[in-house]
């Protein structure tokens, strides 16, 4: 949905303007001048400052303005009322909407980002007002008392995660512009908290430092943003290295070409389908990449002469990951060949679920990509093997995954 012409863009820019006009009519802050306009305009350049998050998406710095609004005071008097704060966020959202459209972003992504920003920003300022000053006033205290109160911190503790949840829910419902609906990504909370902290820091320093507060807030912000960016880059590098190294057994001709990458993709999807947390999914991914790495040792003629079992290959492979930081991966690789249950015994509860997932994914890939079975035939074979070898729960997850991808054909 890439916009090419100029007119659709201009037309789409009219939407936020109309929306803001209607909104201001409805909420009606005293006047939309001075501080409100300035604060709204600050949001526009901030929307260009993007920070990569752990889940791979990016987060912009716009929410810092929302976080600053309730804290900004001049000579001890708060500048923004709730209505004015809402107006700032509405105006700022509209302005970034127009900027993004002019820059040529797709309409879908502009709408999603704007919705996310408006919803989480407004949730933040409203909840903050509700739990903070308003609550204190209801208790009989005054607003100025509240400023010096522990209650401020408690409020932050509640409101920052709450507005994050609102932002996540919006992304979840609308998708993130590339057609994938992601669940709540709590590992992205660190970037969000960073942005909000720096915003609040700006708000609190504004009274004494005035516009120099920008410098005070910008220093730690740029440092943190740079660190997050470097982290994302290092992660990408690491990912690529493991992928490349995982294909060495294929280069040596011991494994069917592409096996490692396909198994890793399938095992990761299976782990996600089964609802594993992101850390376990990551473990599954790394172990799946490396699950056949032990076959490197097949280069040794001694090995070929004496013979070997799947257990040997698993054991050799786990040597790769023996160091302490990778012990989970080593354990997963070591036990990947084990049947989930032996005759006459209960399933071993210590057998990592990741090992069981990799066993299923690897077998399915061998059946379909190497032996030429159709997905349905492959799945049937796994079902047949699920008395001892393959964990039925994982085979069922595989069926669900394949059905969702319409891979099983009409007979399924």
């Amino acid at each position: 949905m890439v916009e090419s012409g100029r007119w659709p863009r201009i037309a789409s820019s009219l939407i936020p303007i109309a929306g803001v006009a209607a909104f201001l009519q409805l909420v009606g802050p005293g006047s939309v001048v001075g501080p409100v306009l300035v604060a709204a305009l600050i949001m526009v350049p901030l929307s260009a400052v993007l920070i990569p998050t752990r889940s791979g998406t990016v987060s912009s710095a716009v929410m810092a303005v929302a976080a600053a609004l309730p804290f900004i005071t001049t000579d001890g008097v708060r500048v923004f009322t709730l209505q004015e704060s809402l107006a700032v966020i509405a105006l700022g959202t509209a302005a970034t909407w127009i900027l993004r459209t002019a820059r040529g972003d797709t309409t879908a992504s502009v709408i999603i980002r704007s919705l996310r920003l408006a919803a989480s920003g407004m949730a933040f300022v409203s909840l903050f007002e509700l739990i903070g000053p308003a609550y204190i006033e209801r208790l009989g205290g005054s607003e100025s008392q509240w400023i010096e109160n522990w209650w401020q911190i408690v409020t932050l503790f509640v409101v920052v995660p709450a507005s994050f949840v609102v932002a996540s829910v919006v992304t979840w419902v609308t998708g993130n512009g590339n057609g994938r609906n992601q669940p709540l990504e709590f590992r992205d909370l660190d970037v969000y908290v960073t942005v909000m902290t720096i915003g609040a820091l700006f708000g609190l320093t504004f009274d004494v430092a005035r516009w120099f507060a920008f410098v005070i807030a910008a220093l730690p912000f740029l440092f943190a943003a740079g660190a997050f960016r470097r982290l994302a880059e290092a992660k990408r590098t690491y990912n690529q290295t493991v992928r490349a190294l995982a294909q060495i057994p294929e280069a040596a001709g011991h494994v069917h070409p592409g096996h490692a990458l396909r198994v890793a993709a399938l095992a990761t999807s299976l782990a996600e389908t089964m609802g594993l947390d992101h850390r376990s999914v990551e473990d599954v991914e790394w172990s799946a990449y490396l699950h056949d790495i032990g076959r490197i040792s097949l280069n040794d003629p001694g090995v070929a002469r004496i013979g070997y079992t799947d257990a040997d290959i698993a054991e050799w492979g786990s040597v790769i990951a023996e160091e302490a930081t990778l012990s989970t991966v080593a354990q997963i690789i070591r036990r990947q060949h084990e049947p989930y249950r032996r005759p006459g015994q209960q399933p071993d509860p210590d057998l990592p679920i990741a090992s069981r997932i990799i066993k299923v994914a690897s077998a399915y890939d061998e059946l379909t990509a190497e032996q030429g079975h159709s997905p349905l035939e492959g799945l049937e074979q796994l079902h047949r093997g699920s008395v001892y070898d393959y964990d039925p729960e994982i085979v069922n997850a595989l069926r669900a995954l394949l059905e969702r991808r319409n891979a099983l054909g009409t007979s399924a």
Partner: protein
């Protein structure tokens, strides 16, 4: 034995120096040093600083950075600006009493490192604090305020002027802190562990940049706290510390995982041939020494190191009989080996970041296991890049100076002469010269530095 005695003396000297600096800082500060009025503030900062220093992380090779620098500079600026103390040197030096313990030193019972760290941190903190004091008083005087009443300046002066002053003073103090820290670590490693242990300390730029930035940010936060002290502000400042710490930690963890993975591959590779054990690590160390001698940047050195670590990984795809063969390979075997290593090179060069490294390696590879150096022609006739040459020289030098299945190790001097006189186009003259210099600088000994103890003598702050 000699080095051990030196270490004991050095540790004792360091502790005494640290203590005397601390006493001096107390005396400088006059009567307010005895004040126990704000003990809870002191305790809060000591606790924050101590925890962050205890949890310091290794961000780059053997260099440790921790968010505790921020806390130190926050205290250093917040205390004098809010008139809790007279000088910045006093609170900063005092924090050294809690900053010298790190989890690694305690679990490893490394008394020497802790003793040295204490003196080093106290001294660097004192220098940095004094720098901040001098800078602040000059700037305050310049703006017309009385030099000894920073607080009046804060209250009555223009806030922008004060913040600019704090920015300048904080930056100057962090630069002094970082540079004196690195200088002290270098000289102490030199005295306590010998010259060749110094290699890792030649690449300090990433840590210097990070620490300077952290110090300056910490100083600004200190000024903010002095201006409008509030619980919320303190909480936000604490959050900034925690976030910085978390980012460092995840970076360090990622790096450690990647290193561990590569080491695993190298281990499998070397397990196939007993004679090449340790070869990869040694080549990496040689390449780094040569690169340092040639004035490579830290990014270049990091790339060099990774290139050295992966330079033989292609052999994993080579059938073992060919790898273990003694003497020259036949034409067919040689081709087989080249096909296998090229396949792996192709795999690795798909990785955008590894591509330059594969290019470094690819000029070196066809010489095979390094045994028949100087005989197998390499496929490039054009001049190799500097990095390719460094790797080739390091590889050949280590191959010659270590024992192989069919010959004993060559003495270092003969190997060096052979590398110098070789007409192999891969051995650029400036690289062989750098190798010679590096060997001389290492004091005639060679091999990887004893990395385990040195790693822990890290500069924390």
């Amino acid at each position: 034995m000699k080095l051990k005695h030196r270490r004991i003396i050095l540790g004792a000297v360091s502790v005494v120096a640290g203590l005397s600096v601390a006493v001096w800082a107390c005396l400088l500060d006059g009567e307010s040093a005895g004040s126990v009025l704000f003990w809870e503030l002191w305790a809060l900062f000591a606790l924050t600083f101590g925890i962050l220093a205890y949890k310091s992380v290794e961000i780059d090779d053997r260099l440790q950075v921790s968010a505790s620098v921020m806390a130190m500079f926050t205290a250093g600026l917040a205390f004098p600006l809010s008139e809790l103390t007279d000088t910045a040197a006093f609170p900063m030096t005092m924090l050294a009493f809690v900053g010298f313990v790190s989890s690694g030193d305690i679990s490893g019972r490394r008394v020497f490192q802790m003793a040295v760290n204490f003196g080093q941190i106290a001294f660097a903190a004192f220098l940095a604090g004094s720098t901040a004091d001098v800078a602040l008083s000059i700037l305050a005087e310049g703006s017309g305020a009385l030099p000894d009443t920073l607080n009046t300046w804060l209250v009555e002066g223009s806030s922008a002027a004060v913040f600019v002053a704090v920015l300048v003073a904080g930056l100057a103090a962090s630069i002094v802190y970082t540079i004196s820290n690195v200088a002290m670590v270098r000289s102490m490693v030199l005295i306590g562990f010998g010259r060749r242990s110094l290699i890792p300390w030649s690449r300090t730029r990433p840590a210097v940049v990070a620490q300077t930035a952290l110090g300056t940010i910490g100083a600004m936060l200190g000024a903010v706290l002095a201006f409008g002290p509030s619980i919320t502000l303190a909480f936000l400042v604490g959050t900034v510390y925690v976030i910085s710490h978390l980012v460092f930690t995840s970076h360090a963890r990622l790096r450690a995982t990647q290193e561990a993975m590569l080491r695993g591959f190298v281990k499998i590779l070397e397990a196939r041939d007993l004679y090449t054990r340790g070869h990869t690590e040694r080549v990496a160390e040689f390449a780094l020494s040569i690169g340092t001698e040639l004035g490579f940047s830290s990014a270049q050195l990091a790339r060099m190191r990774l290139a050295a670590l992966i330079h033989d990984v292609g052999k994993l795809a080579v059938p073992t009989p060919i790898m273990r063969k003694q003497g020259s390979l036949t034409e067919i075997e040689f081709r087989e080996m080249r096909v296998a290593t090229h396949k792996v090179d192709d795999l690795l060069s798909q990785v955008s970041f590894l591509e330059p490294m594969v290019q470094i390696c690819s000029g070196v590879h066809p010489r095979g296991t390094g045994e028949d150096f100087g005989q197998n022609g390499h496929r490039h006739n054009e001049t190799p890049t500097l990095e390719q040459s460094v790797l080739a020289v390091a590889d050949a030098f280590d191959a010659m100076t270590s024992t192989r299945s069919y010959r004993m190790a060559m003495p270092q001097s003969r190997a060096l002469a052979q590398v110098e006189s070789s007409n192999d186009p891969l051995f650029l003259p400036e690289v062989t010269a750098a190798l010679k210099q590096a060997l001389e600088r290492l004091g005639g000994s060679y091999g990887p530095p004893e990395s385990a103890p040195v790693r822990e003598a890290a500069n924390r702050g």
